[in-house]
């Protein structure tokens, strides 16, 4: 694939690994809040959304699911807590942390339960899956390869969240609100 036109899938994967390597070393250290960038890229294009889904998957795998991953214990705990905040909604976080997480308030614009009104990446990604599946059904099964790549990446991310994510939600999943079937 020519470097001028599109982003080859293996470049997206490699860029995701690079992003995770930086994120693990800087998040909440020299880089307080990478979430606006992650969100901007999530909404930007199909390739950048695939990039963000891979970044989130790799970082969850490294921080929460790989005991052998070399990382200081304190940092691992901090990042694990931050990932919980990142993927959940404000309402769910109020259930998980009734007293809130005090140090979150030190981040600009944040409260003890994350960004006011946040829905979290779990709901965001679940919404994406619902939308794409809904589109496929509305086109009488005509399948767009981009949508399939997106659904596949989204499901892989949701899959790694199952072993460690909170198994309760304050609100019904947005996916269930869509008239898919």
């Amino acid at each position: 694939m020519d470097g001028n036109n599109a982003f080859a899938p293996y470049l997206v994967s490699k860029l995701a690994l690079l992003f995770v390597a930086v994120l693990k070393r800087t998040w909440l250290a020299s880089w307080d809040d990478p979430l606006p960038l992650l969100l901007e890229l999530y909404h930007r294009s199909l390739d950048s959304r695939l990039l963000i889904l891979q970044i989130l998957r790799y970082v969850v795998e490294d921080v929460c699911l790989s005991p052998e991953e070399p990382m200081p214990g304190k940092r691992k705990k901090l990042l694990s807590q931050m990932l919980t905040v990142t993927v959940n909604s404000e309402a769910t976080l109020k259930e998980i942390y009734p007293e809130g997480v005090e140090w979150l308030e030190t981040l600009p614009g944040w409260t003890k339960w994350g960004v006011p009104g946040q829905v979290g990446f779990l709901a965001l990604v679940a919404g994406t899956v619902g939308e794409r599946v809904g589109e496929i059904f509305s086109r009488n099964g005509e399948i767009d390869t981009g949508a399939v790549r997106e659904i596949s990446a989204a499901i892989k991310f949701l899959q790694v969240c199952i072993p460690w994510g909170q198994q309760r939600s304050h609100h019904p999943s947005p996916t269930l609100l869509l008239p898919i079937f």
Binding site: R25, L46, V119, L124, E131
Partner: protein, 77 residues
Amino acid sequence: MRDDASSWRLAVALASRANAFPDPVRHFGISVLESEIKYFWGQYSENDLLGIRHGLIHLCGEVPPILLPTIGLVDVW
């Protein structure tokens, strides 16, 4: 490259879409940058670390902006 403290700049340049290198060269640039981060992170100055982060953001920003259909369900993060 190891003897040059600013070798990460060369890696970012190799990886950058703007320089129109073939994909394998860009992949090599990203790999070099990844190795630098994994094995030599502690040897870089604060300015270089900030530069590496900005380089990374630059590379991510080069992902082509093809407009997506809006999600509609969620407009607040």
